[in-house]
């Protein structure tokens, strides 16, 4: 097999100070007037998005990149796609590389479906005659043939998405870089997309694939790379990497429950939480918590002595310590006369977790009869909410969109 990608000691540093506000020439001029010889003092804190990442890829490998928010997955894809440049290190790629970081990049509302196919095709690196050759197949794949000469501003978001993916599915690169585009669309469409990726794989193309959909990664990829905090945590067979990754979530919670056992906390210790689990509605542990997903939080407790009138509650904090919300079962009018002695658990069922992706912290408390504090974990359990396409539009909701989102519908009426 021939080697087609070589990544050597890749590092990428971002300056967060500069990202937080738009730089003004005015300020720089003022600074220059004040201290003409002090250059670059406007630099803020730096963050390493990638640290010493090295790997190589042979032709025909399909690689899934997994990791939590901010692990550096997107940065890696952007460097491979030449959109951004590494601070140090090198990437060597042989062959034509096409990147699909978004479906329908460059689509223009005023142009028709047909026109946008050509525009998007050329943006993705196709030649006009390639688009000509595949045009019928693209339209067929998208399923929007009746509307192909209608401006796409009249398209539904689903149609737009299908058209965008149809163009992308007919790319013919040596290396394809795909970012989380399969997380969008309805189940039928997702199946179609996975089939298209599978065909690429069987035709011997090299594919890089970032997704939170671990099942898709497991199905499609021969190899997995797990990034954590900018470094490669594990690189190997996709199945094994996914397994270790999932285990890290479980152990993350165990380490959360570990300190739960310590005595260093408020309350009288008559009852305490022993473990927290994040579950899917069907009761299986969910490796990843995503915005908009249903979620069951299971609080395990142990009470050596019976506790009268307990009240279980928790608070959700942002990483910077802002209280997002507090929930307790008595708010629901539920009364538990007594728990214990012994162990048990309480489930909190959430139909749709309307938190915007971020790393939240859960702080837990229990009060006993008369409101006396029996347990207050100063310990906080991590709740990592991952990016997803909550509106099913292909547009990702991420941490820039505040703390929460709420279910909503938009309707436009024009007089």
């Amino acid at each position: 097999m021939t080697r087609c990608i070589e990544v050597q000691a890749l590092c990428k540093k971002y300056r967060i100070g500069k990202l937080q506000h738009d730089l003004m020439l005015r300020e720089q001029l003022i600074q220059f007037v004040r201290k003409p010889f002090n250059r670059g003092s406007a630099e803020g804190d730096t963050v390493w998005a990638l640290r010493d990442v090295s790997f190589h890829v042979d032709e025909g490998e399909v690689i899934g990149i997994i990791g939590r928010n901010g692990a550096g997955k997107s940065t890696l894809l952007k460097i491979l796609s030449r959109i951004t440049y590494p601070t140090s290190g090198a990437v060597k790629v042989r062959g034509r590389i096409a990147s699909l970081l978004e479906v329908g990049t460059g689509f223009h509302d005023e142009l028709t479906g047909r026109e946008n196919v050509y525009l998007n095709g050329s943006i993705l690196g196709m030649k006009k005659r390639e688009v000509d050759r595949h045009f019928d197949a693209i339209v067929d794949f998208s399923g929007v043939e009746q509307f192909i000469d209608t401006p796409i501003k009249r398209y539904s978001s689903g149609m737009r998405l299908r058209l965008g993916f149809a163009v992308a599915a007919h790319l013919d690169p040596d290396v394809l870089v795909v970012d989380e585009v399969l997380a969008v669309g309805d189940a039928g469409f997702q199946k179609k997309c996975i089939k298209a990726m599978d065909e690429l794989r069987s035709s011997g193309r090299t594919v890089f694939f970032v997704s939170h959909n671990l099942a898709a990664v497991e199905n499609l990829c021969s190899r997995g790379i797990w990034l954590d905090a900018g470094s490669i945590q594990m690189d190997g067979a996709a199945k094994e990497v996914i397994l270790s990754y999932m285990r890290s979530f479980a152990s993350g919670q165990l380490s959360g429950s570990g300190p739960l056992e310590t005595e260093n906390r408020l309350g009288n210790g008559e009852i305490r939480y022993t473990r927290i689990e994040y579950l899917s509605p069907d009761g299986t542990p969910c490796g990843i918590v995503r915005s908009g997903d249903p979620l069951v939080i299971r609080f395990h407790y142990r009470a050596p002595k019976p506790i009268r009138d307990p009240n279980f509650g928790f608070r959700i904090f942002t990483p910077t310590g802002t209280l997002v919300t507090e929930a307790a079962h008595w708010l629901h009018g539920i009364h538990i006369p007594k728990v214990g002695p012994g162990e048990g658990y309480i489930d909190v069922e959430i139909d749709s977790l309307n938190l915007v992706p971020a790393q939240y912290q859960l702080s837990l408390w229990i009060t006993g009869h008369g409101g006396a504090l029996v347990y207050d974990g100063d310990l906080r359990v991590a709740l990592d909410v991952e990016v997803t396409d909550v509106y099913r539009s292909g547009r990702m909701l991420d941490s820039r969109f505040g703390l929460v989102y709420f279910p909503q519908r938009w309707r436009v009426t024009q007089a």
């Binding site: 020439l25 951004t84 590494p86 060597k92 005023e110 142009l111 525009l119 690196g125």
Partner: protein
């Protein structure tokens, strides 16, 4: 300058299109279709959805010319060096409108296409270049009106008219060069956005558009000549009206100044383009 992350593999590469070291021009040639489609998109969108469509290309210079004729000609009575006032203003307004719309479109081209910049690789210079190409369509349509002026004012048709299409070449280069520089600056410094319209407004008065350079006292004329647009605009006027007393020395300054601006701008652009996606 190379636009690569790293040199090629030492083994013989099968295809090494995207990461190979190559000159700007060769790479631009590689991306000519994207260039074409982006320009095509902008032209198409510009004329779609407007009731008057292509007519806008004529309306803008024509009505500006009318207003200038009344305000600067009749009311302020600024000399037009013996040239009929409508011809005097129109011949300068066509290249000026091209130049100013290119400058503002090119200056914003990177920021307004940030979606493309952060999602896809292509030579970034394609964006200001596209912005310099699109207003050319308006210029060409407007130029057709010149025939009407020639017929109405009975202007002599001579070889000088051949200068008209030739002069657009340095005008495009100058607008593209300055536009690319402003675009790169705009990514980093967001107050450029406010400076561009202001600068264009000032430039209108610092260029012999509403007045001939002959009204400027001799000892200050070199100041006017430093503006590379001066020589170009006056030569455009001469192309239409050969009797216009053009200062060829101004054009002789314009062309090298334009060349220097283009080279410096492109170098600056190339030097900063790697960071565009990170800060845009």
């Amino acid at each position: 300058m190379e636009s690569v992350i790293a040199p090629q593999l030492s083994e013989k590469p099968r295809i090494a299109k995207d990461y190979a070291e190559r000159s700007t021009l060769a790479e631009l040639w590689e991306y000519r279709e994207l260039f074409y489609f982006l320009a095509w998109r902008d032209v198409k969108v510009r004329y779609k959805q407007t009731a008057l469509g292509v007519l806008w290309a004529v309306i803008q210079p024509f009505f500006t010319m009318l207003i200038f004729t009344v305000v600067f000609g009749q009311i302020a009575n600024i000399s037009s060096d013996g040239v009929p006032r409508p011809v005097f203003y129109f011949s300068a307004l066509l290249p000026w409108i091209y130049f100013s719309s290119t400058l503002s479109a090119a200056g914003m081209s990177l920021v307004s296409n940030s979606g493309l910049l952060t999602k896809i690789y292509f030579p970034r210079i394609v964006l200001p270049a596209t912005a310099a190409l699109v207003p050319l369509v308006d210029f060409l349509i407007g130029s057709v009106l010149l025939a009407g002026f020639i017929a109405y004012y009975n202007l002599p048709v001579g070889w000088s008219l051949a200068l008209w299409p030739l002069l657009i070449v340095p005008t495009v280069l100058l607008a593209f060069g300055l536009g690319a520089f402003l675009a790169a600056l705009n990514v980093k410094y967001r107050d450029i956005k406010y400076a561009i319209p202001f600068g264009i407004q000032l430039l209108l008065f610092m260029t012999p558009i509403i007045y001939p350079s002959s009204v400027i006292p001799e000892r200050f004329r070199w100041l006017l000549a430093l503006n590379p647009l001066t020589g170009l605009i006056e030569a455009f006027r001469y192309a239409l009206v050969p009797s216009y007393s053009v200062q060829w020395s101004h054009l002789a300054i314009s062309l090298p100044v334009t060349a220097v601006i283009v080279v410096c701008s492109v170098l600056y652009f190339r030097r900063t383009e790697k960071a565009f996606a990170d800060i845009v």
